[in-house]
Symmetry: C2
Amino acid sequence: MQTLSEQNYLKAIYRLSQDEGVKITPTAIAESLGNNPASVVDMIRKLTDKQLIAYDKKAGVRLSPQGQKDAVLIVRRHRLWEVFLLEKLGYHWDEIHDIAEELEHINDTTLADRLEKFLDFPEYDPHGDPIPKANGKMAKPYSVSLADIKTGTTCKVAAVRDTSSPFLQYLLKLDIGIGTTISLVEKIGYDNSLVISINGKDNTTVSQKFGENILVE
Amino acid sequence: MQTLSEQNYLKAIYRLSQDEGVKITPTAIAESLGNNPASVVDMIRKLTDKQLIAYDKKAGVRLSPQGQKDAVLIVRRHRLWEVFLLEKLGYHWDEIHDIAEELEHINDTTLADRLEKFLDFPEYDPHGDPIPKANGKMAKPYSVSLADIKTGTTCKVAAVRDTSSPFLQYLLKLDIGIGTTISLVEKIGYDNSLVISINGKDNTTVSQKFGENILVE
DNA sequence: AAATAAAATTAGTCTTGCCTAATTTTATTT
DNA sequence: AAATAAAATTAGGCAAGACTAATTTTATTT
């Protein structure tokens, strides 16, 4: 098994690899973890030695089959714990990420499977991210954002891209959660702000950045 | 807050301080953690600087009020997680200690309290150890062992002193758990072995060490 | 009380995982 | 293509937390 740090690197690389066609560079990993690129180079060497990743200057960093498996397991644990914290312990969705970030590292052969069963095999976590099954398979993540849809369309919130507390608290204030109905009333050409109607209520204007962080179906 | 290592030292010192009247020496701590005494001396300095312990050559190591508080909180978390693992996830009592050992370090202001509520405020953990309340108070631990009672007496298993997997698996094989009725039929003078009857069934002979690790009421 | 044994401490080392500063390599402009 | 900017890498260092070996202090025997 890996150290805590190694696991966090694997997770970061996995997350970056979700943006298909984007090369995973040391700098990108460094930014993602808030570390110095020099530290990343060290860790790339270590993870390469352990055969968890492969690094090629041209292609960037890629997870090996084993690295992929390990990363997915960490993500699985993270998302299952998030469901537990929300559903069983009554946390709000803006409070669970950081705690799950610690819980995900607890490693026991049957823990994730037992937790999954206890939670009745949830498909998605409270932020709308699909939960990998024990075999590593999972539903396709949502990918269409509120900023992508056509003016006049109505959709439902399926997931959030940003799981940070400030963003989620803002959503709470706007009364937006998973399943909320949103209509895109107008796109402001000047700065791509979005005028939306939440659950059929009065119009609200939100930024492009905001819209990009809400995934819909 | 403390590092993982610091927390483990606090916990070890707390555990040792449960044997009243016994001086807590660097060597004792080292043995308890499987570390080298030299490492313990380093950590004693660090914890002293942080005012979590006080060290006096004569009196040995003692927890400060803050250190005591922190240690009890770790124990509280450990025992609550053990209840969770057994009752909610269906683990057996010989499997939970090591997992709880990791879970206990997860630090969030409300996590332990929420977990306690979710578990319906258990008083004892699956090994019979009392669970500290949020204010640090807890029931008195059981202290009379099977080796302490008089021949001919019948009692109930209240707790186990040894929570290691081998011991608990042995108990499983003997069909002994918390609440099991045991009668002490005879003490063998030669080596203090105990002849016992479990739940009124045929006699079994167990060692003195075994008897000392079973606490009864 | 001296001799011996045990415990505590110090000194120095190692690994992990991070850092900064300097340098080299690769990309992007002009 | 040369100049410049950005990214990657190397070198050297630091703190935490462990270790071993050597030394000093304290306890226990004889």
